[in-house]
Symmetry: C2
Subunit: 257 residues, 2 copies
């Protein structure tokens, strides 16, 4: 008998044991068959990185009716590539990353391993969504997110997404939300990024840290939405060409060498 | 006495010992003072990843008139962040990534550690350029690139680049080039990405490999330019918002939960 339930591939960057992904799995199971291929340990800040200097492996963790969970030694992008190559019986109907413990709005989209999952899914032609909560607490409360995660995923299953477009959904750290805003990526900069790390013998050891400073916060930006307790959906595209620059360079630069 | 020469920060993802970065340093020294902060070992496929679960350190490798070289334990993005925080006496005039051993055109911009250098430089507000040669040979011939690398870098020093825009420059693997084309990113997909890796006791071990298949190759695409022996300059932007999708979702989706 053919299984007509949607096939949902789930991954993240906080690793298979994080609360966020396990809450996400619980939220998505009513919507379809869930297959998880997630990193076997945290890979925060993994972006779209790949594992190229060592082999990648995975192992089955859990299998029950409608849910199969694998842990993988690779990056978030490796997880998506390997799941689609090796463990899924057919193309998934949707790929969902998260729920990330921490903010992936604004320029953080470029560093995020959760958005690595989503960009990779999108490059593979599968409608893909990343969910992130602006709260780093490993025991954060994900319950206010349930109806949004289920509602947005159901709409992606219904509408699909245009080729080369995926969604970056961020939730404010608040007990309830004022609604949903579809936003653009906020411009801004990380500052004060390094804290000295004392080493008993050596110098020049640092921890990466810092704080994000928006340089603008228009009402259409994801930082504004989050600041005002809205759920921020930022549609993201794979094509990063700066089209306006093509004619400018062609006309104004000397490119004859 | 004030030093008025341009300050050029160089990094890559193949590591500080790679031929590509050492050829790049040689090409750039006539243009200004060069400071190198590069990974202490290969970080291919590092994208914009960050080091968050361990400290990052760096060490001086070499210092001579107009050139200082540091090796760093972190990712390409860490290298840029740490150089700007700790070793540069002032903001650099340009950040240059490469020369990468391998193609970073098309969707490879998302996986590339060399482009990680460049995107990070751009997010820090510094004009940034990545150079890549479509040849993986560790002893590839970089001599046909000299006048292009010097010419393009000199023009970036002269014109600057708009805020949030950087350059992804790819060279075909050819003894000479037919000229320079300013291009858009080619759409396409990696296929056949995993090769089994035999393990004496365990299963499900794989090497990441594969081949890139463009789904289109219009004459304005970077894949077309490279295929026809042109140098491909693809201007890249930090803002990945899919603007067209904002009104579509706002008008057509039910976002009331």
């Amino acid at each position: 008998m053919k299984n007509n339930k949607p096939l949902i591939l789930v991954s993240n960057d906080d690793g298979v044991t994080a609360k966020g992904i396990n809450e996400l799995i619980r939220m998505l199971r009513p919507l379809g068959e869930v297959v998880v291929m997630a990193p076997d340990a945290p890979r925060s800040g993994a972006a779209c990185s790949l594992t190229v200097v060592s082999p990648v492996h995975y192992a089955l963790c859990n299998k029950e009716e409608g849910l199969t969970v694998y842990a993988c030694s690779g990056t978030p992008v490796d997880c998506v590539k390997l799941a689609m190559h090796d463990v899924l019986s057919r193309r998934p109907d949707v790929i969902v990353g998260g729920i990330n413990h921490g903010d992936n709005s604004a320029v953080n989209v470029h560093y995020s391993g959760t958005m690595g999952v989503v960009l990779e899914g999108c490059m593979k032609g599968v409608p893909s969504i990343g969910f992130s909560l602006c709260n780093h607490d490993p025991d954060a409360d994900f319950s206010p997110l349930v109806k949004y995660v289920q509602g947005i995923t159901a709409q992606v299953l219904e509408h699909g997404l245009p080729e080369g477009v995926c969604l970056n959904v961020n939730f404010p750290s608040a007990p309830s939300f004022r609604g949903v805003k579809v936003c653009r990526q906020t411009r801004g900069e990380w500052q004060h990024e390094w804290a000295p790390c004392l080493h008993p013998r050596k110098s020049n050891y640092y921890w990466l840290t810092g704080s994000f400073h928006p340089v603008e916060m228009g009402e259409d930006s994801d930082a504004w939405a989050l600041e005002h307790d809205y759920v921020a959906i930022t549609p993201v595209q794979i094509d990063v060409t700066a089209y306006g620059m093509i004619s400018q360079m062609t006309n104004e630069w000397n490119l004859d060498y």
